[in-house]
Symmetry: C2
Subunit: 237 residues, 2 copies
DNA sequence: AAGTGGTCTAGACCACAAT
DNA sequence: TTGTGGTCTAGACCACTTA
């Protein structure tokens, strides 16, 4: 007899149910860390579905880091699943507006003056760099101070922008596609004039987020975001 | 004529090549943000592969957040791809040893005394809570100070552990599977006695990572990690 | 009502790695 | 050499959404 999917038989075997069954066996200790679990064909027969479906389910578990799969060696339950936290990196304006606050943006400084040697080297010899410093406000309270260097050679149209109306943060997202980047989170004591701009006492702890994005080989932009002590970044684990 | 895979024809059409072709069309502007792209069957015919292969490729792009797919409505190129950063959350010992340093662990305090009201409420009424405070050293330099509350009711065996030899961080990873959690990153000025323990001046900025993990409905553990100003968290973007 | 993605299937061949 | 996962295919039915 052929079981019509979603028909009289209630227990449809979709790849999710196969995944969940595997999760249950791992959670219950039936499959222990380090164990090699039955191969796809065997599971397919046991669970009454095709190997493709088992494959899809096990791939999902492998993507989640719970099992490791190798041809010929089989599928093993990972000993210590690595924990990962995925942080969303939204536009600053959207982050503020998502909190129900009114957004305002103010440029502090824009210039094409000579860049510090350290920046030049980080940009791997790019010739034209523009510096933009700006403040983002939530309900007229300083939310974050943004210092940014932009590689004008790598971002067509940037040279014609003064970033007065649209923040560099936003302009770049819309106009400078990137292929990769890095984000680093650290901390430092607030120094003048940044402390005053953020309306915190000098010496207050600041959360600093440094971002670098690149398109292919070229470094597109490097930014440092200074958040007052009240700020928190959150991510699901 | 049937093209044998991997045979004379060099341009095998795997799902990766379909994905890359789609990426190329998006990158080149052939498919603009907001556009609806051809449906799977059309792409399959155009590219000379089966719909399943196109489906696999487009699903990968959807997972990456570059397109959004809806039945009947079709597949659209996303206007502003959301940026995400995936942080690894390793064991503290492994993070230190990965840096080539020698790891040492020292308990500061362990106790089952009554927990602050705030903690009790966060644990949603769990009865037995244990507090553990400890220091993790890298080459005998304080690396991070860990304050942690553990729900003894949710973690079998924890009641018999004093966490003197193995850190709570490590013991929990090995013995308390969890199904979800949250991580929050913030900053604060160091206060005594934590400042002295971390060998920094009182008032120094500290990076604070608060983690909470749960298994099903129960909150398993809540930890606050205090890092000295020299610490940086990094993640690819 | 109809179009599009979501998924399952049975079969097939291949790539890789362990033996 | 051989066992296992990786992937492709052609076809099919379903679920969801829009029209």
């Amino acid at each position: 007899m052929i079981t019509a999917p979603g028909a009289s038989e209630k227990n449809a075997v979709g790849w999710r149910s196969v995944r969940d069954e595997a999760l249950r066996r791992i959670g219950s200790g039936e499959w222990k860390p380090g164990d090699t679990i039955p191969h796809e064909a065997a599971l397919a027969q046991t669970l009454g579905c095709s190997r493709s479906t088992v494959n899809r389910a096990m791939r999902a578990l492998a993507d989640a880091g719970l099992v490791r799969r190798k041809r010929k060696a089989g599928t093993r339950v990972v000993e210590h699943p690595e924990r990962r936290a995925q942080m969303r990196v939204p536009l600053i304006r959207e982050e503020i507006e998502a909190g129900g606050a009114t957004y305002r943006y103010a440029v502090r400084e824009v210039g094409d003056g000579p860049a510090p040697a350290e920046e030049v080297s980080r940009f791997k010899g790019a010739q034209r760099l523009r510096f933009v410093s700006a403040l983002h406000f939530a309900n007229e309270t300083p939310f974050v101070l943004e210092d940014r260097w932009i590689n004008l050679d790598a971002t067509p149209g940037a040279a014609e922008e003064d970033f007065a109306a649209v923040s560099a943060n936003e302009w770049l997202v819309r106009n400078a596609p990137f292929t990769g980047g890095e984000i680093a989170v650290g901390v430092a004591a607030a120094q003048e004039p940044r402390a005053s701009e953020l309306r915190v006492a000098a010496g207050s702890p600041l959360l600093i987020v440094a971002r670098e994005t690149w398109a292919g080989d070229a470094v597109v932009t490097r930014a440092r975001l200074f958040y007052p002590p009240s700020y928190q970044m959150r991510a699901p684990l």
